[in-house]
């Protein structure tokens, strides 16, 4: 029951992730929201699947994927933001 609830909750996160990509003007804001919301959606779905599969070999693999993406998600977003910043995208546009 809880896993179904979590799956429905993850729908909202996925939708907001997609909306977040198209709505923001500033490139960094887009980068921030999309990576953050996407990681949260990932956590919700994987947690729902862990609850659904109970204790089996699937759960061990799911926990492995969860830990791995939790570590590398923010790192990949950081790497993109760093290369964007160093190559000269101004942090705050003047028009706002």
């Amino acid at each position: 029951m809880i896993s179904n609830l979590l799956l429905v909750l993850s729908w909202i996160f996925i939708l907001f992730g997609v909306i977040g990509i198209f709505r923001f003007k500033n490139m960094y804001a887009r980068l921030l929201t999309s990576s953050k919301i996407d990681t949260v959606a990932f956590i919700t779905i994987i947690f729902a699947l862990i609850l659904r599969t109970g204790f089996s070999d699937l759960t061990i693999r799911l926990v492995l994927i969860l830990i791995f993406i939790l570590m590398t998600g923010p790192i990949s977003s950081h790497v993109i933001a760093r290369s964007a910043y160093l190559n000269g995208i101004p942090l705050k546009e003047d028009d706002k």
Binding site: N4, L7, V8, S10, W11, I14, L15, G17, V18, I21, F22, M27, R30, L31, S34, S35, D38, T39, A41, F42, I45, I46, L49, R52, T53, S56, D57, L58, R61, L62, L64, I65, F68, I69, T72, G73, I75, S76, S77, V79, I80, A81, R82, S83, A84, L86, N87, I89
Partner: protein, 86 residues
């Protein structure tokens, strides 16, 4: 049934990310959408693996997560170095 609906929504989100990849003004938007796309593919594979109770698919999802992460870091280092004019 819910897993099928989640997979459908994920596919729509992936199509939206692809559209953003085409439309994105800067290279880093494309990199960001590539990053999102690979995370979503990992999600889709693990969802399908749990849906069909096939544990080998989850191994595929783990390896794809590793490859996706490496792609992003290497591509952004390539762009940081200003491409291949050396």
């Amino acid at each position: 049934m819910l897993i099928r609906a989640t997979m459908g929504l994920l596919i729509l989100a992936m199509i939206a990310v692809l559209v953003k990849m085409l439309k994105g003004p800067t290279i880093w938007d494309r990199l960001m959408s590539l990053n999102l796309f690979s995370v979503k593919i990992t999600l889709l594979i693990s969802l399908y693996g749990v849906y069909t109770d096939n544990s080998m698919l989850l191994d595929v999802a783990i390896s794809y997560a590793v490859i996706g992460f490496l792609t992003i870091t290497l591509l952004s280092r390539f762009i940081l170095r200003g491409g291949r004019q050396k």
